[in-house]
């Protein structure tokens, strides 16, 4: 939510250019994420992988087609299990509900395990402004929290931080020795630091990777066990969930959880997959079901399948553009290909350049465990951006003109002849240089051939 302000306003391309100024860091970022992609490749080399993807896609389609029924079934079952279920139309309602629960119980310290939904709703700044201390307990999330930054990746929030920098940050904020950068030592220090926050929190907030209609249960996956510690050590557990996270049955989970871990981190299964169906003895459990634009997306026939996303992050890791432009260039809580199609649905004006931050190479669609056709939707968003007069700079001038020229063989051939003449007359330095986006970043100008194919064919008498 607190995504870097400048990014969206400047547009993806400018923000990405800023990221690329430090070429060494950009290369390192690319390598780190490509490593994740390779882990994914190894973990998904299963004979039944493609069948699993079809199954995952089908069960999401099914769940989304029966969303209202399944949510009501979930509410009935969860309530019967002793869970309090809340419904939030938008981010503001979500935050107010969470605050209400905390106020009612007199809680002033909260531990939170990684949840992109609470990021989406801007829960941390909201609670902090009201005097409630929030400690993110996922290590990566804690790092960006200490640095007062939003996550730069939906699964690996601090992927843009090098360990030496984390050492320095920890030295400044939690008092590790100066110069300490060994991952083991830093993790151990974070563990001590977080344990204190976990044990002394009045409530534990978690996200959910899925909620199950059949059981009324919440499923949370982490690799650090922090969600389990958070929800079990505090008297109150609040799970904040987007409504699209619902699945019909526990059997469906078997498919989704395999897809999630293998696609996201290349693990056969996440280290901790916890099913919580009811409050602990003497404790309270709340589930906040959040819409925040999701039903509107469901009504959009073209973009609907975006709701299938299980936030595995595989499309980010594989995306050649994300890897080379960094998470902050997207200016949105969800980055990469999936972010580029979710963000315009939130606000097309602010995020209009994101659908253009893609070569439409299609790699994201091929890694997506639930087979979301991301390139096709990005293309559809581009057309909508054009219809809303929100094209990237230059597009609105260039492309209508190009269309006019290319619609007629005559105009096209005449323009090409002119181009050749100009190319012959003008010194190359006039048409390359800082103003020309083709040549500015390190590309030579492609030259028009002395004779086009059509001219050749005519000259040879081949044009019949």
């Amino acid at each position: 939510m607190s995504a870097p302000v400048g990014a969206a306003r400047r547009g993806h391309s400018e923000a990405a250019a800023g990221f690329l100024v430090d070429a060494e860091r950009a290369a390192w970022h690319d390598q780190s994420l490509w490593f994740m992609r390779q882990k994914r490749d190894k973990a998904t080399a299963l004979p039944e992988w493609e069948q699993l993807r079809f199954a995952g896609s089908a069960l999401k389609t099914h769940a989304m087609s029966r969303l209202a029924d399944l949510l009501e079934e979930f509410e009935r079952k969860a309530t019967a299990n002793g869970v309090v279920v809340h419904w939030a139309r938008d981010a503001a309602e979500h935050n107010a509900i969470v605050l209400g629960i905390l106020h009612a119980a007199g809680v002033t310290r909260v531990s939170k395990s990684k949840s992109m939904l609470t990021e989406e709703c801007g829960l941390n700044p909201f609670l902090e402004a009201r005097g409630i201390e929030v400690v993110d307990t996922d290590l990566g999330e804690r790092i960006v929290q200490l640095a007062k930054e939003p996550p730069s990746h939906i699964v690996i929030p601090a992927i843009h931080w090098k360990r030496e920098e984390i050492g320095e940050l920890f030295h400044r904020t939690i008092g590790t020795p100066a110069g300490e950068s060994s991952p083991d030592a830093l993790a151990a220090a974070a563990r001590v630091h977080l344990r204190d926050a976990l044990l002394n929190a009045g409530a534990g907030i978690t996200g959910a990777n899925a909620i199950v209609a059949e059981t009324g249960g919440v499923v949370v996956c982490t690799n650090e066990g922090n969600a389990d510690l958070g929800m079990h050590s505090a008297p109150i557990h609040i799970a904040c969930v987007g409504i699209e996270k619902i699945v019909a049955t526990r059997d469906d989970l078997g498919v989704l959880l395999r897809l999630l871990a293998r696609s996201g981190t290349g693990q056969p299964v996440t280290s901790y997959t916890t099913h919580v169906n009811s409050p602990k003895p003497g404790g309270a459990m709340h589930v906040v079901l959040v819409d925040n634009g999701r039903t509107a997306r469901l009504a959009d026939e073209v973009m609907r399948t975006a709701l299938h996303c299980i936030r595995c992050g595989a499309c980010l890791n594989t995306c050649p553009v994300y890897r080379r432009s960094g998470g902050y260039s997207y200016g949105h809580v969800v980055q990469g290909p999936i972010g580029a199609m979710l963000a315009p649905a939130v606000d097309l004006d602010v995020h209009s350049t994101l659908p253009f931050a893609s070569t439409l190479c299609g790699s994201c669609a091929d890694v997506c465990p639930v087979r979301i056709d991301i390139p096709t939707q990005l293309l559809a968003w581009r057309a909508r951006a054009a219809a809303a007069k929100r094209l990237p700079r230059g597009y609105a001038l260039l492309f209508p003109l190009l269309g006019w020229v290319l619609a007629s063989l005559n105009r096209y051939e005449r323009l090409a002849r002119w181009g050749r003449r100009i190319q012959r007359l003008l010194p190359p330095s006039w048409i390359s240089g800082r103003w020309n986006p083709w040549t500015r970043p390190g590309r030579a100008l492609p030259l028009l051939a002395d004779e086009s194919f059509r001219e050749w064919a005519q000259r040879e008498g081949r044009h019949t």
Binding site: V321, R324, F356, L379, A407, W438, P446, W456
Partner: protein, 246 residues
């Protein structure tokens, strides 16, 4: 069979030798190739930029030409993908559906309708193959690493059949080169960064020749190579096959 050679605008202007090689090759393979396909562009640049209204006239023009032919061959995977997958829903006409059915990328046409998955020829060089993403994941003319498929496909089989040709192995064989049409200019910095990484991968592989079925990828990579003073030789697959089988 009336085969039209449809030459996309940028090939016509920037790499006519790819079109001439395509023509020579198809004729050598016994096709009666017609050059009166009189539309300069299928509308892809405007369409992919989201400016669909500006894409319509060009696309309609393109599709109208198609009805006179039994097959339309293009030395470009991305244009073929646009015609095949985008034009029928975009124009919603019977002619668009027909065009989609009879339009082929060159290697696809040689290996498919012409029934020549290999050609006799010789090309004693170390070659790195680059499929454009639209050919690879759009038309499925090559295996995708994401789907754990081997890299083969019509272009691979045509190249693999040549005497003396060895393949250079890239560390990221099917990573996008960064061209992406309007992306190359709209996101110039990322585009060039991707191209530079591709070239570094190519250098490390010891490739002498970079071959692609998409002149647009070559245009972009060549422009970066030229800027860096690299001597990598780029060839459109038609140029390579034509030279090898001459």
């Amino acid at each position: 069979m009336r085969v039209a050679l449809a030459v996309p605008c940028y090939v016509d202007q920037f790499r006519p030798q790819a079109a001439r090689a395509t023509l020579a090759l198809l004729e050598r393979l016994g096709c009666d190739v017609r050059l009166d396909f009189d539309a300069p562009c299928c509308g892809q640049p405007m369409f992919n930029a989201g400016v669909v209204t500006a894409a319509r006239a060009a696309a309609e023009n393109w599709v109208r030409q198609s009805s006179d032919f039994d097959a339309i061959v293009m030395p470009s995977g991305s244009c073929t993908q646009h015609v095949r997958h985008h034009l029928p829903p975009f124009l919603g006409s019977g002619t668009a559906a027909y065009a989609a059915k009879v339009t082929y990328e060159l290697c696809e046409f040689i290996a498919g309708p012409l029934g020549r998955p290999t050609l006799a020829g010789r090309f004693p060089h170390r070659v790195a193959m680059h499929l454009g993403c639209h050919a690879q994941r759009g038309l499925r003319l090559g295996g995708a690493s994401e789907l754990h498929q081997p890299l083969d496909g019509p272009m691979h089989s045509l190249l693999a059949g040549l005497d003396g040709l060895t393949f250079a192995t890239l560390s990221r064989p099917d990573e996008c080169c960064g061209f992406g049409g309007s992306f190359a200019v709209g996101e110039a910095d990322v585009s060039v960064a991707m191209g530079c990484d591709k070239l570094a991968d190519l250098d490390a592989s010891g490739a002498q020749v970079l071959v692609s079925s998409d002149p647009s990828c070559l245009l972009h990579l060549e422009a970066i190579a030229r800027h860096r003073g690299s001597s990598l030789r780029t060839m459109h697959v038609a140029e390579l096959l034509e030279e090898a089988t001459r």
